[in-house]
């Protein structure tokens, strides 16, 4: 019904990319990279999410209204995460008066 939709070719390429990324993230976990392990795992997860969202969920071809809803969801997620973390990790900054 949309004016433009992805082709079978696009779906297949995205699927292949997702499989390669899944293999990559599994492989990297077995190599000691220090803190970079976490960064790599989350970066690959983010790329995989973008591929699924843009092509399988067709956000690339979606209207502005749909994109705003998605961005609103992630904006609220950012609020939850950032405000909660800011609270928890700044508690030790202020010395509370002892008993």
């Amino acid at each position: 019904m949309s004016e433009q939709t992805p082709s079978v070719r696009t779906y297949t390429f995205v699927f292949a990319a997702l499989l390669i990324l899944a293999a990559l993230t599994t492989g990297i976990a077995y190599i000691d990279l220090g803190p970079f392990n976490t960064v790599a795992a989350l970066a690959i997860a983010f790329i995989k999410m973008c591929l699924v969202g843009l092509f399988f969920m067709e956000l690339r071809y979606a209207r502005g209204l749909t994109r705003i809803v998605v961005l609103a969801g992630f904006f609220w997620l950012a609020l939850i995460v950032s405000f909660t973390l800011a609270d928890v990790f700044s508690r030790s900054w202020i010395k509370s008066p002892g008993p």
């Binding site: 949309s2 699927f15 899944a22 077995y30 999410m49 969202g53 399988f56 969920m57 995460v81 973390l85």
Partner: protein, 235 residues
């Protein structure tokens, strides 16, 4: 909304004659399609926040009880995690192809692809069940049966490992519940397709089910590294 329809009550808008799939509250098929997908995206936005709260809690407790989370992560079976990831990605592919088949009006192809998606979902849940039963036998189930060996604790406090296992069961359990709902949804869609109820002008049902299925896949895309990989599997 339509001024012409208001001015001439007896003159039905042309779109109503064009398709029996058009519900009376909509002007045209494109508007109906847009409303369906918009509704599902709003629901998915609430789901992002729903899972987001748990992910936030995970980040905080992981930083507070790091050793326990690393030990717990090492105790999970990485091969199972990887296998489930590949299976779920494959199911997302067959789901995307289902939407494509529905859009092209290919009924038999649609049914085959929907059944493939359901099958992959069931295989995923089967592996998950096997993993849960392994955890039970290893006595790693918080509250009910938690007696880990010294080796499994890897020097971390037992309570910290127990906390990780709480997150593991809660996050994967909630994800599995979404999978079960998704399989139910796709079963209904398969039945509709079987009866020939899915046409090129009302395939938005398949599209919307697909959005839900892909969302559940995205949750797993994050659960896999967070639970299985992030502790590093090299030690």
């Amino acid at each position: 909304m339509s001024e012409s329809a208001a001015a001439h009550p007896l003159a039905a808008p042309s779109a109503h004659r064009a398709s029996p799939a058009l519900h009376h509250q909509f002007e045209e098929l494109q508007q109906q399609y847009d409303a369906s997908t918009f509704g599902m995206w709003v629901f998915l936005a609430t789901e992002i926040m729903f899972f987001g709260g748990i992910f936030t809690a995970y980040i905080i407790y992981r930083s507070l009880y790091y050793s326990g989370f690393v030990a717990g992560s090492h105790g999970l079976e990485g091969d199972f995690g990887a296998a489930m990831t590949f299976i779920l990605l494959a199911s997302s592919f067959t789901m995307a192809m289902s939407v494509h088949a529905a859009r092209e009006g290919k009924r038999v192809m649609l049914i085959i692809l929907l059944l493939a998606t359901i099958l992959l979902g069931i295989v995923f849940l089967g592996i998950k069940f096997t993993e849960y039963s392994h955890k039970w036998h290893e006595q790693m189930v918080p509250g009910l049966n938690f007696h880990p060996s010294v080796e499994e604790l890897r020097g971390a406090p037992g309570t910290a490992v127990e906390l990780f296992m709480c997150f593991y069961f809660f996050m994967t359990g909630l994800h599995a519940l979404h999978m079960i709902i998704g399989i139910g949804l796709l079963s209904v869609m398969t039945t509709l397709a079987w009866r020939g109820k899915i046409k090129r002008d009302n395939y938005d049902k398949i599209e919307v089910s697909g959005l839900y299925w892909h969302f559940v896949d995205i949750i797993w895309i994050y659960l896999f590294p967070l639970l299985y990989l992030i502790g590093g599997r090299y030690k």
